[in-house]
Structures are given as structure tokens and as C-alpha cells.
Amino acid sequence: MTDPRLALALNRRRVLQAGAALGTTALLPAWQEAMAQGTPLVVGVIYVGPRTDFGYNQAQAQAAALIKKLPGVKVVEEENVPETVAVQKTMEAMINQDKATLIFPTSFGYFDPHMIKMAEKYPKVRFAHCGGLWTEGKHPKNTSSYFGYIDECQFLSGIVAAHVSKSKKLGFIAAKPIPQVLRNINAFTLGAKSIDPAFTTRVIFTGDWSMPVKEAEATTSLIDQGVDVLTCHVDSPKVVVETAEKRGVFSCGYHASQAALAPKGYLTGAEWDWATPYTAQIKAAQSGAPMPNVLRGGLKDGYVKMSPYGTAVPAAAKTKADAVKAEMMKGTYVIFKGELKDNKGAVVIPKGSNLDQFNGELEKMNYLVEGVIGSIS
């Protein structure tokens, strides 16, 4: 009995025997109970690209890695699943082979019709989609949408950008003119304009979420036009941030931190913290509570966060951005308030009207605000 490992093994056996003798597992924590019954909650996570893209998919994968550590949770993942019937097949495989009962199809195009179809076919499985707009009565009860108000971070990035830009010309490389993207372009611009109304943002749409050559070309074109701070809304900001660094201009990141790619020019960035909605969905599923159909939150709710400031950020920028961030943390800061004009001169938010972050109108945004140079059609 001198071997400690042997002693430990015996002790564990004794404990297990004791548990069996009591005829109950009530003394064990809930997750062990679940494990004893052999029913961990199987969670499927589906990515449109690779999990290590320094961007959209990486932010989701970071949350998946965190929920793996939760008790009674088993995670199955598949990456590079296109927004076609392929994702339906992936969902079916996860449901039938892995016995997944909660699925996170993380990409925008998975929602309609793919996820909706699967949700109708498998009413006992829960589907939590990132970014889609869940509508009561229109979409099944076992589907939901989670999203974060990352435009708060984009607004703060705009404030920081305005402090370092000399040309007062900012650049934004965007994939497609959908509401979430437009909201980010507008918030970034309004952030900069809150420091100096003379700021403009030039926007280039590449047409798709991942187009490295076009993104590099867009970045180059913007820099050639005198833009000295860039940010983007594409799946992987790697090319944009690296190209900006190569040309000696500043960049703000998106999705996940790209600080490592641009030690000189990375200012800050808007990052997701998806572990918050993931955990909420898992808790509801484990307790058998109804599915929370719409999960939304900003900085205050722990859905989004900022990258740490880079070396090039001056103290004045930090002070100003931190002050606004403190107000956002209190939930009192309004980004989209009247009177707000679009870049064609039409009033989009009338005077005296303040749209708070949770206002559904903002999720239907279809305009670029005054100061943005570009067109959405």
C-alpha cells in the first residue's frame, strides 16, 4: 500500500461503491449525474470557414472552446461548410450520428432556408443562429437568433481612429451591404465624427465574405486615395490588417484580435464574446427551459469587447474612448440619434428621436450616414 496511485485508485473505487450502496447519485454534482445517466448535452457548432481565420470563425470557435469546459457538455464541430444544402446535411449528420440537441449554425446564410427547414423537420432539436432576425410567429419556436451590438465597439474604434488620422479620411472594407455591416460602417463613421465632423469614411464593398485578393486590392486603393486608418467587416481581417501594416497606415480590427499581425499600426478593434449567448443557450437546454429566441447585448452584457489599445494610440484617445465606453457600460449612451441624415441628404432618424441599441429599427438599417463616401447599390 505504498504506491500512492494504487491507494488513490482504491479510494475512488471505494467512493463509487459507497455511491452505489446508497442507491442514489444525489450526492454528486449535477454534471456527474448527467454523465452517470450517459446523457451529456451534445452541442454542434458549424463554421463557414476555418476556425483559425483571425476573424469571424475564430471568434465563434473561441466560444466553442470555452463551452467545451462546461459540465455535461460535449461539442462537435465542422468547419468550411458552405451556405448551401451542404449545411443541411451537416446538421442532419450532427443530429442523427452525434445525437446533437443544440446546434449553432454560425454563418449568416445558414438561416433561411437551411436552418428553418431542419428546425421544422427536427422539432426537438434547438437551433441557435448568429445574426439572423428571429420573428415571432414566422419562425419555429425551436430556432433563435443571437447577436451582439458590436457597433458600440466600432463607434469606439472610430473615436480612436479620429485621434490618429492626419488626413481625416478613413477607410472601410465591407463584404456586403446587409444591415449588420451598414450599422458598423455608420457607427465607425459617427465615432470619428463625434471628434471632428470633418471626418469621412470611404467604403469599398468586395461582394463576398472572404476574397483575399479583392480585399488586398481594396486596401491598396484606399491607401492610395490618402486614407490613413482602415477597418473592415469581412470574415478574416488578416489581409486588410497586414496590407495596412505593410503600407505604414493604421488599422482597427474586427471579430477577433489581429494585434499580432500589425505591431506598429494596430490601434484597437471590435471583438465578439460569443461565450455569453452560447452559455445562456446551453443553460436553458440543460434545465429544459424554453429556448430564448432572441439574445442581444452589447458591451454592458458581455457580448462584445475591445482589443487592448496598440502602442500608437495617444493618451487623449484612450481617455475619450474610455469615457464613452463607461457610459455604454451604464447603458445610457445612444449612438443613433436624431437628427441623422444619410449620405444623400435624406433624414433617416428625425430630430428628437433616440434609437437605443435594442431598437429593432436598427437591425433593418439600409442607409449610409452622412460622411460615408459610397453607395449601397
Binding site: G49, P50, T52, D53, F54, N80, G171, R202, V203, I204, F205, T206, G207, S210, M211, P212, V213, K214, E215, A216, E217, A218, T220, S221, L222, I223, D224, Q225, V227, S236, K238, V239, E242, T243, K246, R247, G248, L261, I373, G374, S375, S377
Partner: protein, 300 residues
């Protein structure tokens, strides 16, 4: 800085991989074979070049490795096409899928790291102080090599004994056999050369512009280059213009959007393809006088 400069810069930036792939495919087709698998070869080349540059710190070693991998894939295509009743078009498509799948799989760990890029040829630094002009003239060294390569290939095809034999093989199988030429070997060599060039084209993408490895890196450039060969009428010198034209057309949309003219950008983004299509239609069905190899399965 104006749109013309942006288009010129973009032509070189975007056109370089196209130049390499179309140059290689020109030689392959001159020998009477078509290789549609170059998209896969391009991706394998890009992935290999990035991996080797990352591992050794020597980007040029990456280019060499990409050429080698391209050669191997080209040889594979050549070998399989040499078998009886193997259709080169169908096989090419199979190899395209296999090559890109393999590149994605092997390249998984390469998405995050940054590999040492190829050093630019700093023509701009010598000429001007203007940063935009400088950047536009910081030229991809593989573009310069591609120019030299295109002229060299032209000379070899037109002026050398081996070039003449290659053209005979591509134009008429019976004639080549009557001369006692080993048709299979010539085609094999030409396909291997085409593969090597496509590999270098891939290296240009991952080691210079945009200078990273990712699965969306090529977006059809390998396939596009095959169309450009027809457009270039199997003349290596015209490959230069074809690649520059396509590259330049790709730069129009971002350049105009950066200036604020973004109305109808989806249409503008399609411009390179529209231009290529229009020119191909304009040229019509290429005849033997236009340089079309007679043995090419496209022309038979």
C-alpha cells in the same frame, strides 16, 4: 493619385499569378494537351510556398518548392493522360478538385501564421517620393521573372529545335510520329512545365500579393488562366497582355469605389469576366492560323 495609376498597379498586382499560369498552360496546350487542373496546382503551389517560407525563412526556397510540387502534379496529369482512353478535360477537373482539397487539408495549420514574403523590386523608391506611386511601383519580383519567362518561352517555341518539335507534336500527331518524335514524352514534359509555372503563380499569391495563405486565396484564377490562353492565342508574349488586362480590369472597381464612385459596384466587380468574355467572343473560334494547336481536344 489617379485611377490610371491604380489600374496599372492593380494590373501588375492581380495579373502576376495569371501570367504564370497562362504561360505554363500555353506550353502545355502547344504540345496538344489541356490541363484544367491548374486551379488545384495553383493552390498546392501557394500552400507549399507559404509552408516552406514559414519553415525555412527563405521565400525563394518557397517558390522553388512550389515549382517542384507543380512539376509533380503536372507529371501526374501527363502520366494519366498518356493512358489509353483517358480524357484530359475530365482528368483535369478531377485533379483540380483533388489539388485544392489536398491544399486545404495540408494548409490548415498555415492560416494563422505569417510567412516571410518575397522582397519587392523597389522601382518606385528609386523614382519618386510619392508614397502611392512608390507602392504601385514596388513590383512583384515574380512579375519581372514572368516577363522574362514569357519572352524566353516565345524564343524557345519559335526559334529552337525543341520548340519546333513541340509544335509539331501539338499540331499533328501523325506528322510527329512520322518524324520519329516521342510524342508522349514531349507532352509529358510540356505538362510538367505547365504545372511548375502554375505552382509559381500560386507562390506569387501566398508570398507576395495578398501574401497570406487561406482557402479563398485563388478564387478561380487557375481556371481563368486557361481562358486567357485562348485569348492570348497560344502566344507567350500575348499572355503578358492578357494577364495585365484581366488584372487591370479587376482593379477598376476598388479604384473607383475608393474615389467614391460606388454606384453599381456589383457590375463593376464582374468587369474582368465581362471583358474576357467579350474579347473571347470577338476573337471567335480560333483557327490554326491563329496559333491553335491542331491536336488540342478543344479544337478538334
Amino acid at each position: 493619385m489617379g485611377v490610371p495609376l491604380a489600374i496599372l498597379g492593380g494590373a501588375i498586382r492581380v495579373g502576376t499569378p495569371l501570367l504564370w499560369v497562362s504561360l505554363g498552360e500555353t506550353v502545355t496546350e502547344k504540345a496538344g494537351r489541356i490541363n484544367l487542373g491548374l486551379e488545384g496546382t495553383l493552390l498546392m503551389g501557394a500552400m507549399t510556398a507559404f509552408a516552406v517560407s514559414l519553415g525555412t525563412g527563405q521565400p525563394w526556397l518557397g517558390v522553388l518548392a512550389a515549382a517542384l510540387v507543380g512539376t509533380v502534379l503536372g507529371l501526374l496529369h501527363g502520366l494519366l493522360c498518356g493512358l489509353p482512353r483517358v480524357n484530359d478535360i475530365a482528368l483535369g477537373i478531377a485533379l483540380m478538385l483533388a489539388g485544392s482539397g489536398l491544399a486545404f487539408w495540408l494548409g490548415k495549420p498555415l492560416i494563422q501564421p505569417s510567412a516571410p514574403p518575397l522582397p519587392a523590386v523597389p522601382i518606385g523608391t528609386a523614382l519618386t517620393d510619392q508614397p502611392a506611386l512608390r507602392a504601385a511601383l514596388d513590383i512583384n519580383p515574380l512579375f519581372v521573372l514572368g516577363l522574362v519567362g514569357a519572352l524566353a518561352v516565345h524564343l524557345v517555341l519559335q526559334r529552337s529545335r525543341i520548340g519546333l518539335k513541340l509544335r509539331v507534336v501539338g499540331d499533328s500527331d501523325p506528322a510527329a510520329r512520322a518524324f520519329g518524335l516521342a510524342v508522349g514524352r514531349y507532352r509529358m514534359g510540356a505538362t510538367a512545365f505547365g504545372g511548375a509555372c502554375a505552382g509559381v503563380g500560386g507562390a506569387s499569391l501566398s508570398l507576395f500579393y495578398p501574401g497570406a495563405w487561406s482557402e479563398a486565396l485563388s478564387s478561380g484564377q487557375g481556371v481563368m488562366a486557361v481562358a486567357l490562353v485562348i485569348f492570348a492565342r497560344w502566344d507567350p508574349r500575348r499572355c503578358i497582355w492578357a494577364a495585365l488586362l484581366f488584372g487591370g480590369a479587376s482593379a477598376i472597381s476598388p479604384a473607383l469605389q475608393a474615389l467614391g464612385y460606388s454606384q453599381g459596384y456589383y457590375l463593376l466587380a464582374a468587369l474582368p469576366y465581362v471583358v474576357t468574355l467579350a474579347i473571347l467572343i470577338g476573337i471567335g473560334r480560333p483557327s490554326a492560323e491563329a496559333g491553335a494547336p491542331g491536336e488540342l481536344s478543344l479544337n478538334r
